[in-house]
Symmetry: C2
Subunit: 431 residues, 2 copies
C-alpha cells in the first residue's frame, strides 16, 4: 500500500473528465481494488471512463506496472538457456502454441507458455491439451523450472499468483461491457507476460471477424501499445498482425486441433498453420538471441526433432503420447448448396458453431467436450462442387446440432468467379 491515500470517486471523476491519472493514483486504485477497498462498482465506472476517454502511454505503463506489483514475479535467470514466450490475442482454430513451443525448444530456447482456458467462441490451449489422456495443466513453479531445464518447453496453467489484480479486473470487465478497451486489454495481457519474466516475447495480434479486434486499425493500435509496454519493461517484444477472418487450419475444437498439431509436427498439416508456426518461431528465436534460418526451422518440423520435443513435453506432464484421442459420438456433414468458389468462410460463425457443439464453455464452471468441434473440408479460394462436404460437425450431444448448424450455414459464401484479394496470413510486423 502506498503511503498516500486517495478517494476512488476523485480518481473516477478525473478520468471521466479526461484528465491524465498520476502514477500514485494508479498505484493506489489498483492496490485498493486488489484488496477490496475499492468496490467492483467503482472499478466498473472507472473502466468505462477509461474505455471512452482512453489512457496515454505513460498511464498504461503505470497501470500495467501496478498490476504486476499486485502479485508475484517469476524469474528464469537461473536457467541455462534464454527464454521466449508467445501470446496470441485469440482466434478460431488457433492451435499454434502446440507445435510452436516444442519447435522453438529444439533450438535451445526455453519456452514457458503459461496459458488459460477458453471462454466464448475461441478455444483455450489448456482445454485442447487436456484432450490428451493423463496430461496435467497445473504445475508448481518448481516443476515449471525443472521442465524448462530438462525439456525446454512447457505449456501449463498460469499460477494464480501472477497479477491477481488482472484476474479480478478481467472478470469484472467481462460482465460490464468494458472488455474492448485497448489500454485495458494491453495492460491485462502484458502484466501477466512481464510478471512471467520472459526475456523475449512475440505477440500474435489477430484481426478479423473471429478476433477480438475486428478491424485492422484497432488491432494495430493494440499491437503497438503492447510492444511499447514490453519494451518499457525491458522485454524484447515484437508483434505480428495476422489474419483471423477465417479459421486457422482445417480443425476447430479440442482433440481435433491436437490431431492437426501432431500432423504439423509430423511434417504435414495445413499450410497456414505451418507458415504461422514457422514465422512465430523465427521471431521468438531472433528475440531470444538465437537467430535461425527459416529453412532450418522448417526442417525441424519434418525431420522429427520438434516431434521428439513434443513427446517429451507431453510425457513430462503425465500425458500418454500413444493413447488415442477422443472422438465425438455424433457427426453431421454440411455440404455445398451449389458449385463455384468458396469466397468466404467466417471465423466467427465457425467459432460460435464449434462452441455450440460443446467445444467451448459459456460459463467458467462449464465442462468442454474433448471431441466436439468442426472439421473444415474447404478454405476460402477453393473450387467447390455442389453436394461436396464443406464441414463436418462433431458433438457428443446431438441436441446441440440444430443451433450449431444454423450458424455454420450462415458462415460461408460461394461465388461464381475465381476468388481474388484474400488477406495475407501475416499482415504486418510491428516493432
Amino acid at each position: 500500500m502506498t503511503a498516500q491515500q486517495f478517494d476512488a470517486v476523485d480518481i473516477i471523476r478525473a478520468k471521466r473528465d479526461g484528465r491524465e491519472l498520476t502514477q500514485a493514483e494508479i498505484d493506489w486504485v489498483i492496490n485498493a481494488y486488489t484488496h477490496d477497498y475499492v468496490a467492483d462498482y467503482q472499478m466498473a465506472a472507472l473502466n468505462m471512463a477509461i474505455l471512452l476517454n482512453g489512457m496515454n502511454r505513460t498511464e498504461i505503463s503505470h497501470w500495467t506496472a501496478a498490476m504486476i506489483a499486485s502479485g508475484e514475479r517469476m524469474n528464469f535467470d537461473a536457467l541455462s538457456r534464454p527464454t521466449a514466450d508467445k501470446h496470441s490475442t485469440g482466434g478460431v482454430g488457433d492451435k499454434i502454441t502446440l507445435p510452436l513451443a516444442p519447435l522453438v525448444a529444439v533450438f535451445d530456447v526455453a519456452v514457458p507458455q503459461l496459458s488459460g482456458r477458453g471462454l466464448g467462441h475461441t478455444g483455450g490451449t489448456l482445454d485442447k491439451l487436456e484432450a490428451i489422456a493423463g496430461w496435467r495443466a497445473a504445475l508448481s513453479n518448481e516443476e515449471i523450472m525443472d521442465q524448462l531445464e530438462n525439456v525446454a518447453a512447457v505449456i501449463c496453467q498460469a499460477g494464480s499468483g501472477l497479477a491477481p489484480a488482472d484476474r479480478k479486473l478481467y472478470a469484472l470487465r467481462d460482465v460490464t461491457g468494458t472488455v474492448e478497451a485497448i489500454p485495458l486489454i494491453a495492460s491485462s495481457i502484458m502484466s501477466k507476460k512481464i510478471a512471467e519474466g520472459t526475456s523475449a516475447l512475440v505477440l500474435d495480434v489477430k484481426v478479423g471477424s473471429g478476433a477480438f479486434m475486428k478491424n485492422e486499425e484497432n488491432a494495430r493500435q493494440l499491437a503497438q501499445t503492447m510492444v511499447d509496454l514490453g519494451k518499457d519493461a525491458g522485454v524484447n517484444t515484437v508483434a505480428l498482425l495476422t489474419d483471423m477472418s477465417t479459421p486457422l487450419g482445417l480443425t476447430v475444437g479440442n482433440a481435433l486441433e491436437v490431431r492437426e498439431s501432431i500432423e504439423v509436427l509430423q511434417g504435414g498439416g495445413p499450410q497456414d498453420v505451418v507458415d504461422l508456426t514457422v514465422a512465430l518461431a523465427h521471431e521468438m528465436l531472433v528475440g531470444a538471441g538465437r537467430a535461425t534460418d527459416i529453412d532450418d526451422i522448417r526442417a525441424a518440423l519434418s525431420d522429427g526433432r520438434a516431434m521428439d520435443k513434443w513427446r517429451a513435453m507431453i510425457a513430462a506432464q503425465g500425458g500418454d503420447n500413444d493413447a488415442p484421442l477422443p472422438v465425438a459420438k455424433e457427426q453431421h456433414v454440411i455440404t455445398a448448396p451449389r458449385s463455384g468458389y468458396l469466397s468466404s468462410l467466417d471465423a466467427m460463425a465457425v467459432g460460435v458453431s464449434s462452441w455450440r457443439l460443446g467445444a467451448g464453455r459459456a460459463r467458467k464452471e462449464d465442462q468442454v467436450q474433448a471431441g466436439a468441434g468442426i472439421e473444415l473440408h474447404a478454405k476460402p479460394g477453393d473450387k467447390i462442387t455442389e453436394g461436396q462436404p464443406l464441414m463436418t460437425l462433431h458433438t457428443d450431444t446431438p441436441e446441440r446440432f440444430e443451433r450449431a448448424i444454423a450458424i455454420a450455414q450462415e458462415g460461408f459464401d460461394i461465388s461464381d468467379d475465381v476468388v481474388t484479394g484474400l488477406p495475407d496470413l501475416v499482415i504486418d510486423r510491428i516493432v
Copy 2:
C-alpha cells in the same frame, strides 16, 4: 417485469457505443436493477456510459417513467384544493422551502414538500427542521393527506415507496463519480416529483460555485430537461435559474437557517431570501391556477398570515414553536484583513466550511449538529472596514475549527473598488 428479456452487457455496450436505448431495454434494466438481477457494477458502467455519451429526450422520458413504475404513486385528487410543489437542486444557505411552504398554503394551495437529508456541502431541509424540538419528519401517507387537508402545508420525509429504483441508483452514483450526468439528475428528481402526484411544480435550478451545476449552460440544459419531463408527464412545470455563486441569506447551518426563516415569516430577514421566496411562491400559485399579485404575496409575510401557517405546520408534526433553537457551544469570528469592498464570497467555500463545522454529514449514517454553521456579516458588494467581523463560525466540537477556518478564509476577496456586475438572483425563467 416485462416479458422480453435482455442482457445487461448488451445494454451497456449499446450505450457505450452511442446507440439510443429502446423503451423495452430501459424498462428491463431499471426493473432488473431494482430487483438485484442487474448488479451494481453493471449499473455503474452503464451510468458512466450515459454520463459520457448522453441520452436523448425520448430515452430520458422512458428512463424516468421506468423509475416511477418501480414504486408507488401518490394521488392528491381527493384534496379540496390544488397542489403545488417546489424542488431546488440544492445550494448553500438554501432554506427557502421553510418560509415558502406556509406562504403558498396561505392562498389555499396544498404544498406537499417531500424532502431529504443533506449529504456533502449542501444542507437538507429535514436536518434543518429537526433543529426544532419535537418536530417529526416521518409521516404516513394518511398523515400527509390529513395535514394537507387541515393545514395545507407539509414538509416531511419522502416515503421509501416512491421511485425505489432512484434511491438505489442515487446511492450508487454518489460513490461512482456519476452524479453529474444531466439525464440521470433530471430523471432522479423528476421521477420522485411525478410519482408524488403534484399538479404544479416549480424548479429552482441553482447555478454557480455552490451549486451542483457550476456553469449556466449546464444549468439551463438541466432545467430544460426537467421542464420537458414534467410537461411530458402532464405536470404543470416551470423552472427558475437562480444564482448560487454566494450563499443565500446570512446563515448556513440547521438551527441558524430555521432562525432566519422565522425572521422572514415575521416580515424581516435578508432581502435575497425574501425575494426568492416570493418569486417561487408566485410561480407555484400561477401553476396551481391561483394566480396572485406579488404585493399580496409579500403582504402575507409581513401581516402574520404565513407565520400562522408555519406555526400550524410545525405543531401538526409535533414541533414546539416556543422552544428555543439549539445554539452551538463554541464560536469563532473571522474578521476582514483589510478595508475595501467584498467582491466575492464563495458559496462552495462557505458550504464546505459549514459542513466541516458539523452542520452536514460525510456519510449517510453521520449525525448533524443542530447548532453548527456559519453566520455571515457581509455579502458581496458590501463596504468593509479592516477588522470588522465577516463571518461567525459555530460548532459544538472546537477541534473542527482548524479545517473549517482554513477553507472559509480562502472563500472571500476584498477589492479596492466598488463592486459591479454581481449576478442577478433570478437569472432566467425556463418554460
